[in-house]
Amino acid sequence: MKKLLLLALGVVLMHTPVLASDFPFGNFTVEEMSLKAYEKDKTANAVVLNEFGKSWISSGDGIPLIHEYHIKIKIFNSKAFDKGNIEIPLYKSDNNSFERVRDIEAVTFYTDDNGGVQRLAFNASNIIRENKNKYWDVVKFAMPGLRDGCIIEYKYTIESPYTLNMKDWTFQTDIPKINSEYEVHIPGFFNFKATLVGPLKLTKNTGDLERECFQVRGSKSDCSKLVFGMADVPAFIEEDHMTSPKNFIAAIDFELNDYVDPYDGTKHVKTQTWTDIDKSLKQSDSFGSQLKKSGVFKDKLPLILTGATDSLSKARAIYAYFQKNVKCNNIYGIWSDNGVRKALDTHSGSVADINLGLVTALNAAGLNTEAVILATRDHGFINKLYPVVGGFNYVVAKVNVNNKTYLLDATEPYLPFGMLPERCLNDQGRVMSLNKPSYWIDMKASQKWARTYAMDLTLQPNGKLTGVIKNFSMGYEALSKRKAIKKFNSIDEYVENLDEKNTKLKILKAEVLNVDSLDLPLSEVYEVEINLFDNMNNNRMAFNPFFLNQISENPFKLAERTYPVDWGAQSDTKVILTMHLPEGYEIENPPKGVSLGLPNSGGRFLTAFDSQSTTFTFSHVIQLNNAIYSSDEYPYLKELFNKIIQEQKSDIIFRKKS
């Protein structure tokens, strides 16, 4: 979904005079004012009539980055009034270095009750500045005079000291845009790469040369003026079961390639090749240096490894040590926050503190381990068109034991060895080691959502079912269940809650095993009594064999999909029901076995029935063999669920033998 724009520096640039390409502020046309709906999307509550942004590196003191933003929105009805609440986030690193906003102008045009158009200027005294946290301020204002059919327009300028962080541009949002244009002026001292994200195409993409547009202390340079435009941008509509919308929303992202310091002429190559990135990561205090802190573990290792003889048990012991001893503060990133040592001392650390520490400790124990940097699912896919570290926001460990590779994340206490949390299952990650060039690996689930239910139940003469239900949960299913169990103070409380939640079911005895043995399947065995029939006075009785595992609603409701269905991991459900009927009963309509499949072995649904005198067995299997289903496969997936639901409606009829 990402395309590298051919148009970057180096392409021969045309020399054209600089033209002001922003649209004039404070104007409206009669057509705009009287517009009742947007022709191309009649259902839109608002449409962006025009949007223009311009970024340039100024010749001013400290060569700040200047970003101008200007937008005009037609609001059709009150559902879009939130477009009139403006928030401008401003980054700050300390008291001396922060972004600031200036020249805020805003105006609302509306048609008054007499049919005249009123212009309502905005009063700057209504701007509020909020100190959100250590790194962000937010400037907020609300547009005055919103009414159905009004037009709001505002512009502002941000001055940023972070010259090297060129502002990205988002073309697509939750309302359609008639036109959106972004103009970037880059002095020859700087070399950025631009990437187009998403499936939509640019309708305007030009590059021109501007002579001597940049000048500081005698150094001069030409600039390249790049214009990116998109017309008729549709609204972005999110779908269920998808990865980050960021992968699909049309946008231009910038990444610094290299630059020459205009003050002293020194050249700074930012990451260009993976070799450069590997080197800079290795040398970084918050990455490579942390991987060398094996001394931190010198005293600890013998104790951690007590009893562990082979490599695998050593790896498991170290992994478990991190899981138990350091709490994750949920700060993501590839850079260590407070360092490995402090994380161990304070029992608290970021993802990088914990997992870089894990890599280091495993290496210190003589196990071949590398760090893997990746992007989490909500962060979007990694841009693999060119080497860049900016898109990574997470790091895990990769240990090789006996020619087998295990990916480890010690930030979650209930994650078994070798399994990654769902958030990490996103495309590919880059393996970084201290002594080898880096390389890509797939961030695929090593385990499934897997569950097996085995029920052995007897229908009693009073209409109740008694017997045993066994549940085995593996992989992601076990993880989610362990988390659910740990929400209770004890297993007894968990079982009590289960009993209370299932009002027709009474749990007479429970055994829940392996809650803390993360590498084993979680096993739950319940001796139960179920209120099935009020009595047995009828000659025929309907029984639904899916009564405890029924899917009642198709999770997919859309006729078609634009984006893939992404479930992170495969899934596998097996249910075996063995049932004993009272003497003198038989089955009137033994169900036929069903076998349904998705194309390309993408998944299947099977049922099987078998009976011997008054005992019968009914089993069913639902398998989804892909973690990701493309929008082309979607109709089949939806239909599979439809068929499953269909099938689950059929009852088995018991009748008294005549």
Partner: protein, 634 residues
């Protein structure tokens, strides 16, 4: 009491090291452990009014966290703003055996703006810290102090802080000068506070609870004020950020709000007054005039939450709201009141505790801490009308389930008056659904279905439907009908004084009936199936509370292919309970399967012993809703 102060004195000068065994987890009384993930060993809250402009709130807490679920108890969140300043935060973490393992202070805290995802503008801030401890159980002992420049809000005491937390001991002490008069209100607290005089001659009142077991959340539980110990204290004379006042009852409080917070804020620009006059000149009826003005205000303005200025108590001026066309509840009510006044229609600015769970202002205890929202009352003779001013789509006179059926305070020139907002009864809050449908031989179901929503159920459908594709998507989600394809959707709100919402869908659902051999199966209840039943509660402690009643009626007629007979037992369920009634029938008549269902749930408080009956009631409904029609070929 002297002893108590001495303990505080020691604690302030360094409690670590002294009597360590009190932090030992094993000393928690065993009877406090069930359902507890944390135990408050000792919590001491003191609130002192030094003078009208200064009050000091002190919080000292020792809490033992038994497992990961109790970690929230160790999270310390302190709200402040420029008028509420934090002082002296410090604390110590102890291990299971009561040995101090680390200490923390203000520099460990993170600082945030209290962005609530709701208020556009707010000046509240939060300091937050949670010590990271990996071995359970552990204990933290911490304290902090807040000094605020007012004496109106001195803090309510609610010792039960959350579900799953037991209490060994918790006290609240209010300190003031001997001549300082307070009123207090005790809820579910037996006995009177201990009163005494300190060495310095200050008057103290102390409330205490001890050995309180952890509570569980119970479905259909009443509001905490109905069963938890709570104490509210209000000084008679106070200063609130420069606004002095005194009150002892609602009348005086209403008068203070009217005179001090509202006075002089209702002036409108002459052009707006003129607008209102020309808008209403031709209308004779007062109520229709008011309606025209209300709708003018709705068209012209929108709601933006603003929690700045004097503690969120005083509205923006009417002139400001007129110029900006936005405001919060206070600003919009004050503005609407001013617009109505321009047409000589009197109205009351009313304080209400809004929210889905109904709350009354306490008739015998006036305080500003009760009430979180403002609505407008039009005192027409024998026809009192209420207006919600923060919604652009509310029908005139409709409050909905945000502020219905509760006691509110009208702030008038003559002082405060307690009034009651209207109730939507179970009988008038109906959802009536009718459909005549065709079941085709291939199992497809098609036809149209109409539903009418009344009373508080009016809001179950949008008043101003947006994007029709979006509405169709929502409608598909509302109904658990598989393969639902909506050919046509009509949503129409009738915005009368008794508003109703209408929904008509023309639809088809492929495979609605499934076939197995020569039998068709389909669910008789098409669109109103109850799948979730409230969980059972062993040893329930609270009464059963049904907040709002309603009546659902479904009548679905299926025209089925010829030549089939009913193979399932006809459905016939009839339940009658104190809290509701339920009937459901499905019969085959000719080539029609006729399904009828009526559920009536009655609001009210029922004894806790009836809870299991309620569970059984809903389970029986869920079973009946799961009824499948089986049609077999003749």
């Amino acid at each position: 009491m002297i002893k108590y102060i001495l303990i505080t004195g020691i604690l302030l000068t360094g409690f670590a090291g002294a009597a360590q065994n009190k932090y030992e987890a094993s000393t928690i009384p065993k009877e406090l452990l069930p359902y507890a993930s944390a135990v408050i060993r000792n919590m001491e809250i003191t609130s002192e009014v030094k003078d009208l402009n200064t009050s000091i709130y002190k919080h000292h807490e020792v809490v033992t966290v038994l497992n990961k679920n109790g970690d929230t108890n160790a999270g310390i969140e302190i709200w402040y703003d420029k008028n509420r300043r934090i002082k002296n935060i410090k604390g110590t973490v102890y291990d299971e055996f009561g040995k101090a393992v680390s200490q923390f202070s203000e520099r460990n805290f993170n600082d945030y703006s209290s962005y609530d995802g709701f208020s556009m503008f707010t000046d509240n801030r939060i300091k937050y810290y949670k010590p990271a401890v990996v071995n359970y159980p552990y204990t933290i002992d911490y304290e902090f102090e807040i000094s605020s420049k007012q004496s109106l809000n001195v803090g309510d005491w609610k010792p039960i802080t959350e579900v799953g937390t037991a209490i060994e001991k918790s006290t609240y002490t209010f300190i003031c000068k001997p001549d300082f008069i307070i009123r207090y209100k005790q809820l579910n607290y037996a006995g009177a506070p201990k009163e005494s005089i300190t060495e310095k001659g200050l008057k103290t009142y102390t409330w205490e609870v001890a050995n309180v077991k952890a509570i569980r959340s119970e479905p259909f539980g009443p509001h905490p004020e109905m069963y938890q110990p709570i104490v509210k204290v209000v000084p008679q004379k106070f200063n609130y950020l420069g606004y002095e006042g005194s009150f002892t009852n609602w009348n005086e409080l209403g008068k203070w709000v009217y005179d001090k917070l509202l006075a002089g804020r209702a002036t409108l620009p002459p052009a707006t007054v003129q607008n209102i006059k020309s808008l209403t000149d031709t209308i004779k009826d007062q109520k229709l005039k008011a309606k025209a003005i209300y709708e003018y205000m709705q068209r012209k303005s929108r709601y933006v939450s603003i929690q700045v200025g004097i503690g969120g108590l005083q509205p923006f001026t009417a002139a400001d709201v007129d110029a900006l066309s936005y405001g919060d509840c206070k600003g919009l009510v004050n503005y609407t009141q001013a617009l109505l006044a321009a047409a000589d229609i009197p109205s009351y600015y009313c304080i209400v505790e809004a929210g889905d769970l109904k709350r009354d202002l306490m008739p015998d205890f006036a305080s500003v801490a009760q009430g979180n929202h403002i609505i407008l009352c039009l005192p027409f003779k024998n026809d009192t009308t209420w207006l919600e001013c923060t919604r652009q789509d509310s029908p005139f006179g409709y409050l909905g389930d945000f502020t219905d059926d509760r006691r509110v305070l009208a702030c008038t020139a003559e002082g405060g008056k307690l009034m009651r907002t209207p109730k939507y009864s179970a009988q008038e809050s109906t959802q009536i659904r009718k459909a005549v449908l065709e079941l085709k031989p291939d199992g497809e179901l098609a036809g149209s279905m109409t539903t009418i929503f009344d009373g508080w159920k009016f809001d179950n459908r949008p008043v101003n439907p947006g994007d029709i594709n979006e509405e169709i998507k929502n409608t598909k989600k509302n109904y658990g009908i598989n393969n639902l394809e909506i050919e046509n959707l009509q949503l129409k709100a009738v915005k009368n004084l008794k508003p109703v919402n209408n929904e008509t869908i023309k639809f088809s659902a492929r495979d609605y009936a499934s076939q197995a051999g020569n039998t068709y199966y389909f669910m008789a209840n098409l669109a109103n199936r109850r799948t979730n039943v409230p969980r059972e509660v062993k040893n329930r402690t609270t009464n059963v509370y049904i907040n709002r009643g309603y009546t659902d009626i479904d009548e679905i007629t299926y025209n089925v292919p010829e030549g089939f007979k009913l193979d399932s037992k006809p459905l016939l369920v009839n339940l009658k309970k104190p809290f509701g009634t339920f009937t459901a029938t499905a019969v085959k008549v000719g080539n029609q399967v006729v399904y009828k269902r009526k559920l009536e749930v009655l609001d009210g408080v029922y004894p806790k012993e009836q809870y299991q009956e309620l569970v059984d009631f809903f389970q029986a409904i869920a079973d009946a809703d799961n009824y499948k029609v089986a049609l077999v070929k003749n």
